[in-house]
């Protein structure tokens, strides 16, 4: 395991500690606000893996993060050149502007 990966993991654990890593129960019903913006469209790609309220243990749960944390987390994946997971490979396809839109939208949905 390289230094970057360890860094990501430490960061994740820190985020989890900050958030208390609590379940949000059922989670919000995604897209129930009727928002049909560019941000909503971009963010719709996330929930197939990161479904609100899911009991995921291997895939990162996004429920408790604010927009700043989500942006930082996304950028860790995007910028880790040796990252090997599917999320690393997908994150590289998004621009700074898109990441900001997605993070703001997901944080605002709760």
């Amino acid at each position: 395991m390289n230094v970057r990966l360890i860094g990501s993991l430490v960061f994740l654990i820190t985020l989890m500690a900050v958030s208390g890593c609590q379940s949000t129960g059922d989670g919000a019903a995604l897209f129930s606000t009727g928002e049909v913006t560019q941000a909503a469209t971009l963010a719709s790609a996330c929930s197939g893996c990161h479904a609100p309220g899911s009991q995921a243990s291997a895939i990162v749960r996004l429920d408790e993060y604010d927009a700043g944390q989500l942006t930082t987390l996304f950028n860790r994946y995007r910028q880790d050149e040796s990252g090997e997971t599917a999320m690393h490979r997908m994150a590289r396809g998004y621009t700074d502007e898109e990441v900001a839109l997605i993070a703001d939208f997901l944080a605002g949905e709760r």
Binding site: M1, A51, S57, I59, R89
Partner: protein, 422 residues
């Protein structure tokens, strides 16, 4: 049930231009949107359209009372998973206010915008979404018709066929031969045949080690090929023999009574035969006039509207969306984007191009998986790969990555089925 509190409070703050204004929402109140097909694409579209437009009439037409998911069904084939874990009802979707019509769309009149269900029943639509999945070309492989699938299962639509192939594998004696025939692309789930080969080999190695798996392939290249080939050699040795078209791997004809497959130069006998048959868009797509000469549906990638019929959108396996693959992940992602674009269109807002993504996981054993990912832009009106993104798992994985990817795969199945059905 969906609370409308958030929607109403959002509507009162019109500074956010992307929110549907009360006036625009009122206009959608009488809108009728019909979705044909309740798989990962159609069920997602129905659910999200109802959330986006609570007052519109959203009707999901699906002939089956319950859905049997294809992803993870290769684990059912080899006894690693129960078929029950693949089954989902439409109860939660109906509970959110979607009208679930357990019926078959027999014909579609794109001029009058009518879906005919037979027996005098029909539904008017302002916008129609077709998510019909695949149907088989029963004339595409000589000897292989729907009757032949009783003895040589395809198991390419999950359910009774999955259980039939599972029983055949379980009943086969040690030392038997399993033969798979893989049709030429495009077909549903590009890495699916090779995940299936991996898991059948895993089962044989553990339970019937003197047996052999012969993969007769009409494709010279395939999804995650280097990773599969490497894993087969390392995990299963000579238990799997793969033959591409340059090595007489193309099956020309089958004889279900004799349990034989004929290539150009050989007649192969096997104890268990699995056929991944030639495919096309689900038949209703052709009846709606949305298929081209390939049998699949050309679409505008921004809106998923058919390029052949106005007001009919097509999502999922039935579409021509390459480089997006025919996968549950893609169908789910496309459905959400399509729902948003339809909401925009019905509210006189211009559709907007976007970025979509896909990941397909494949199990190599019960504990190890690999993946392929892609990121796609719809900015040109067709899907294009976003440069620098996507790709497959590393050939030489660091640490326990294959085990972690298997865990990711299980979490993905749990999350997507929760989003769509639960």
């Amino acid at each position: 049930m969906i609370s409308r509190r958030d929607f109403l409070s959002a509507g009162s703050t019109l500074a956010l231009g992307g929110l549907l204004a009360p006036a625009a929402r009122a206009r959608t109140a009488n809108a009728s949107i019909v979705i044909v097909g309740g798989g990962f694409g159609g069920a997602t579209a129905a659910r999200f359209l109802k959330r986006l437009m609570p007052d519109a009439r959203i009707t999901l037409v699906e002939p089956n009372q319950q859905y049997v998911a294809c992803p993870f069904s290769n684990l059912v084939l080899t006894g690693l998973r129960s078929i029950v874990e693949q089954q989902f009802s439409y109860g939660a979707i109906a509970g959110e206010g979607v009208v679930v019509a357990v019926d078959t769309a027999k014909t579609i009149d794109p001029v009058s915008r009518i879906v005919n269900l037979g027996a005098g029943k029909s539904i008017y639509y302002d916008r129609l979404i077709l998510s019909p999945g695949i149907d088989f070309r029963w004339d595409g492989l000589p000897g292989y018709d729907s009757g032949a699938s009783d003895s040589m299962p395809h198991a390419w639509k999950a359910g009774a066929q999955t259980q039939l192939l599972a029983r055949q594998l379980a009943a086969m004696p040690d030392g038997g031969v399993v033969a798979m025939s893989v049709t030429a692309a495009p077909f549903r789930c590009p890495p699916g045949p090779y995940e299936r080969a991996s898991l059948i080999a895993h089962y044989l190695k553990q339970n019937k080690p003197r047996s052999k798996l012969l993969v007769l392939d009409s494709n010279s290249t395939f999804s995650k090929q280097s990773l599969f080939m490497n894993a087969w050699k390392n995990l299963y040795g000579d238990l799997i023999e793969w033959r591409g078209p340059s090595n007489d791997g193309r099956v020309r004809e089958v004889d279900p009574a004799a349990m034989t497959l004929s290539t150009d130069f050989e007649v192969v006998s096997a104890d268990v035969v699995n056929i991944v048959p030639p495919q096309r868009a689900g038949v209703i797509a052709e009846r709606a006039g949305t298929t081209d000469q390939t049998g699949w549906c050309p679409i505008n990638a921004v809106t998923f509207e058919s390029t052949l019929q106005d007001n009919i959108h097509v999502i999922g396996d039935a579409t021509i969306a390459a480089p997006m693959p025919k996968s549950a992940f893609s169908a789910n992602a496309q459905a959400k984007v399509c729902a948003i674009q339809i909401a925009r269109l019905l509210n006189d807002m211009a559709p907007e191009p976007t970025t979509l993504a896909n990941t397909c996981y494949s199990f190599l054993t019960d504990q190890q998986a690999i993946s392929v990912s892609g990121v796609y832009s719809s900015r040109t009106g067709e899907f294009t790969n976003v440069p620098g993104a996507g790709g497959i798992s590393p050939m030489v994985a660091q640490g326990d990555l294959p085990a972690r990817e298997a865990a990711h795969a299980r979490d993905w199945f749990s999350a997507i089925t929760r989003e769509v059905f639960l």
